[in-house]
Amino acid sequence: MEIDSATNGNSDAVMTESVATITPSPVVPSSRSNQFTESLKLEHQLLRVPFEHYKKTIRTNHRSFEKEVSTVVNGVGELADSDWSKDATVSRLTSLVTRLQGLKRKLEEGSNVENLQAQRCRARIDHLDSVDVENITEWNNTKLKRILVDYMLRMSYFETATKLSENSNILDLVDIDIFREAKKVIDALKNKEVASALAWCADNKTRLKKSKSKFEFQLRLQEFIELVRVDTADSYQKAIQYARKHLASWGATHMNELQHVLATLAFKSTTECLKYKVLFEPQQWDVLVDQFKQEFCKLYGMTMEPLLNIYLQAGLSALKTPYGFEEGCTKEDPLSQENFRKLALPLPFSKQHHSKLVCYISKELMDTENPPQVLPNGYVYSTKALKEMAEKNGGIITCPRTGLVCNYTELVKAYIS
């Protein structure tokens, strides 16, 4: 080895050398671009949720416009068939004109809202379109923030969710307003009120019916239970009336549950009969909240679980190796962190089909470009790192793990297939 080069002020020295090692080379293997496409496919929720919102707005608006128009048309028809005085006719017509003017205004407003929502849908498609090799790090950063906002919204941490979205300029990429709608219902249910949940059901009647949801039925059952709980002669009467009005229609499809709940009439809320006792328990309301969350996610095409949990599970499994749980594990491995270890504990280990060797010294991958070399004691390091060491130390290699000293010429190449 030429030790002389080290004394020459122009040799590869510490500072320039580390420039090369710290900034990873920007070369991206071709399989990476395929990886982009594959990872974009994970973004169904991102595009679906705002669209469902948009669709709902369009439908609601359309229905109300149609209703108004037909009211006016019918109004004229009735007017023509009746024998009102002329003055009365004029005033009737004038009111119809006012109505149409109101409709025009509503149309304008409705269209503005729709356009905003369409814009949001489009912003998300554009966001997916914007990813490329150059900005992938930044894009992944944004993605992480989106995932965190999704988590916070599902946990009802609205303040932080809003702050983070504003701060990172991703308001168009997250669904704060949609979750606010859900929060109203959840809060009401937590207060043991079903009204807003029922209103929500009415609002989404066709969709819920299509998916054969029985959420409304469950809400009605709970209301029935609450009437039974009051435990006065009058309340039983009310409960029965309520059941006739709201529960009977579900009998055709959910007879067993209906019978089960109606039998509470024979028990008091203080009953010790386990099967019925459970129906009176306050936890039933938590069940309703969970039920609502599920229906809500389904309706908007969201995953039931927070995105964060899904990504963490997959990531932890893919990173989980027995080495990560060892004492001297490199701090760069997330699994060296106590919290990550705890989360990963019940998850499967990763699997690798091919050897991948990381140089202990340089932390670089050892491959055909930078093949592994074996010291006489069986310890393996990358050619690059060993060469550098030899150049600095006049051809002498010191094993960083065992302290063994040997000559560069004593090394042998290992072939890993």
């Binding site: 149409l100 599970q313 701090k331 990763s350």
Partner: protein, 387 residues
Amino acid sequence: MELKSIKDAFDRVATKQKLSYSKTNEIVQLLSQEIDKALSILQKTPSSDTLLVDHRSILADVKKVFMEIAPITQLEAAEKELHAALTKYPKVLEKQLNPDISKAYRNNVEFDTHIVNQIIANFFYRQGMFDIGDCFVTESGESECSTRQSFVEMYRILEAMKRRDLEPALNWAVLNSDKLKQARSDLEMKLHSLHFLEIAQGKNSKEAINYARKHIATFADSCLPEIQKLMCSLLWNRKLDRSPYSEFLSPALWNNAVKELTRQYCNLLGESSESPLSITVTAGTQALPVLLKYMNVMANKKLDWQTMEQLPVDAQLSEEFQFHSVFVCPVSKEQSSDDNPPMMMSCGHVLCKQTINKMSKNGSKSSFKCPYCPTDVDISRCRQLHF
């Protein structure tokens, strides 16, 4: 995946929505016009009972015109077209994208919210987003994050470096000099060099030399060539940009120092230099498509997805996620372990111990042929490797 077909499908929705809107607008316009017309005729004609028949005939006319316009039918037709586009779009999404990424999710594993929240809070702090971190901690009701203060300190140092003020960084590096040496980091030398160059740039060679004597000379053991370059650069003091040492002016030096400081600071805290949360989620982004594909292919087979101890497929993470050497025996396809370590044969090819035992019939044969080359392998010359 075709992003274009998604775009096209959405454009169709947006066009139909506009069309439906203008149709409705047009109809409302038409209806108002007709009523206005009737009203103006009615109001012009003087009020008199004999004209009773007249105003009724006007109304009948309006009614007739309305019937001809058939507004409801027109609205319904417009809606029908819109409806078709609205139904199609989600189908396109489902076809082009993965409609349910939770298929590869283990439902029987529930994360402790408390731990997840701590991880998130720590993420915000290490990214320097202290406001948001604080807000999160308050809102989620978690206890104060223990690492917050350390990261505040780190960002104070980094902010100062951005202003080209090296003092806080140097103070920290000197204070942790021993630990940095242990980690084989040249951060301290790097910072001193930067400081030296700053002084030299200030046209004060003498002061720079004094600084080098005091602070840089001690690194002679490890950084001699570097010191030589630094000192030589003094010769070109005024025109460093046209000298062989122009690299000393590069902002990359500062960026590298910032990166190295972040790395070392985090490491001394027992943290990784990249945020572990962001590493894990990015790894998840790479692994999920592979796992989902596997689930799809195996959809009909009975799978113990919820209980298996090792993933059934290679998640194919990219290099930066390879934190450990993993040796997979090319013959048995098993990962090496303490009980089954990798062994190198005399020809340099590597197999794991169990495979070698098998090939030598448990040592009953003293030699066997390497499966990868024509060498006859002597068992006594196989030796264990440590990666």
